[in-house]
Symmetry: C2
Subunit: 317 residues, 2 copies
């Protein structure tokens, strides 16, 4: 057991959270992470209420360990959906992609552990002021949707840690014991990983998508969407190239959004079209070379901490 | 003394290098860093040969400790300039901004410690194959000129460490003991800092520039130059706004370069015009709140390592 404020509040063995990922972090992957000693979260994304309720039931059936949901506050029906999840007995809610003020009262009166994902110091302070239990500080290297300020994990974590008293969970660029020790050195009390858990045996991602992560090198991800204020890190492909060319040519953002249309993430994640789909992934994909079970990944991560600390001690002290 | 391969090769007390900074890392700041136990480097930038030779002489006069020069290989007269420096007895050369193959033979036949700055894995491997002694791996959060791949320190360092056998020096987003421990956790054997040494009492930067670093928050730097392939991280001001607006409007890159003209870094660094000048700085500026002496910074950094390691051990082990 690794005891930090974060692992104690969440009542989990290891302070390792899964990032909420649309079409990826379903009840099975969630239960796998929680059963391995971390905290799985069901990525609500665009799920309808029926699906969400079924997924929560399924997670309860697959694990007796704590798990949570990851909830995008941009959804207009956030109140109804969150209430439905709370009624089902969800005890941890990670919110993102929207104003944290919207859900603060609802989460606090429910007495659940509330965590909001931020990408800069000011938002972290706001989240603390709103009474959230913890904050995930996510750097620019992270996969998928990203903050506009492009602050990296290395620069972001210590600045957030200095600015708030609540526990800080580091996200972005972490996939092994080295990254976990680094995050803790910067002041984090837990880590969140997305891409590493997406490339697992239990992950429901299409095999083509998993293969794209395994094949990626350090330079193979890119940010699209600067022009339409939706910075998204993906593995480079035909779609990302088309978006970047349109952005670069000064095409009207609405026209680009029309070109992209909807369902590009589904296309890649579920249908396996990694050419015309949106293959969201973090920069750390370059370090991931093998599909493993979630349990294997968590075991390696935890058993690697002592050797990393030993090497650092030998070199620095 | 902190013993790593890097500090032993460089024969320095602490594996802490100063990044080469145009108009900043002069002989005085170089000597200050070297006298404090790190490795100062004279930033050659656009210096003419006379100035370079005088600066090297001045550094030798101010310190009996090892120091180096930081050399942009994009200079057409690189061979003449490098030869002049080597003749003066310079023993460490950090090259960047250009093809490392150009200088490899010259540096190796001179028998000096050669270090090249890279921003991705492939280039790190090339640098090793060319026979360089070490590599600086610099992340996207770093100030000034940046690689095109936007790989952050957190994602870059472990991937470079896995790919080469020569010592890796981590740069980008490091300004205190937490950052140094994090860099070592990721596998680095030394760190390089720019912005932190730029904001010191000994730094020759104009006071307005130093004040801009002290005033900056985490969100106050931005990358300009994507459109003309010269990604440069600066503190946001009127100039950066103008460049970004022109880039966003799809203005011809050459027209933007004409608008910028030359001398914008001099304007900010020497003349103190932080409105129309280029105020190069890393994202970690948000963490820097006070001007201190170089010795003070190095002492704090080194004495803070043990407490950081203690906290991490307590939490993780």
């Amino acid at each position: 057991m690794i005891k930090t404020r974060a692992s104690e509040i969440l009542n989990i063995k290891y302070p390792i959270l899964m990032g909420g990922m649309v079409w990826v972090s379903n009840s099975e992957l969630t239960a796998a992470v929680s059963n391995a000693g971390g905290l799985g979260v069901i990525g609500v994304g665009l799920m309808d209420q029926d699906t969400l309720v079924k997924e929560i039931d399924a997670a309860f059936a697959k694990t007796d360990k704590p798990f949570g949901i990851s909830f995008p506050l941009a959804r207009p029906d956030y109140e109804m959906m969150l209430s439905a999840a709370l009624e089902k007995g969800v005890k941890v809610v990670v919110t993102s992609a929207g104003n944290p003020a919207k859900a603060a009262n609802l989460l606090q009166s429910a007495g659940v552990v509330s965590i909001h994902v931020v990408a800069n110091v000011k938002m972290a302070q706001k989240v603390q002021d709103l009474g959230y239990t913890m904050v995930v500080a996510e750097g620019y290297e992270a996969g998928g949707h990203n903050g506009r300020d492009e602050i990296t994990t290395m620069a972001l974590i210590p600045q957030v840690v200095d600015a708030v008293d609540i526990p800080v969970i580091a996200a972005g660029g972490i996939a092994d014991s080295r990254g976990m020790v680094a995050a803790f050195a910067l002041g984090a009390e837990a880590i969140q990983m997305g891409t590493r858990f997406a490339a697992t045996l239990e992950s429901p991602l299409h095999e083509n998508f998993k293969q794209a992560i395994l094949n990626a090198s350090d330079t193979d991800t890119v940010i699209t969407g600067r022009k339409f204020n939706d910075l998204t890190r993906v593995i480079k492909n035909k779609l990302s190239q088309e978006i970047l060319e349109a952005e670069s040519a000064g095409t009207d953002p609405n026209q680009i959004l029309d070109m992209i249309g909807i369902g590009r993430t589904y296309k890649a994640s579920v249908e396996g079209d990694v050419v015309d789909g949106s293959v969201m992934s973090g920069q750390i994909a370059g370090m991931i070379r093998e599909l493993k079970s979630v349990q294997h990944i968590v075991n390696e991560l935890v058993s690697g901490l002592q050797p990393v600390m030993h090497t650092v001690s030998q070199r620095l002290l």
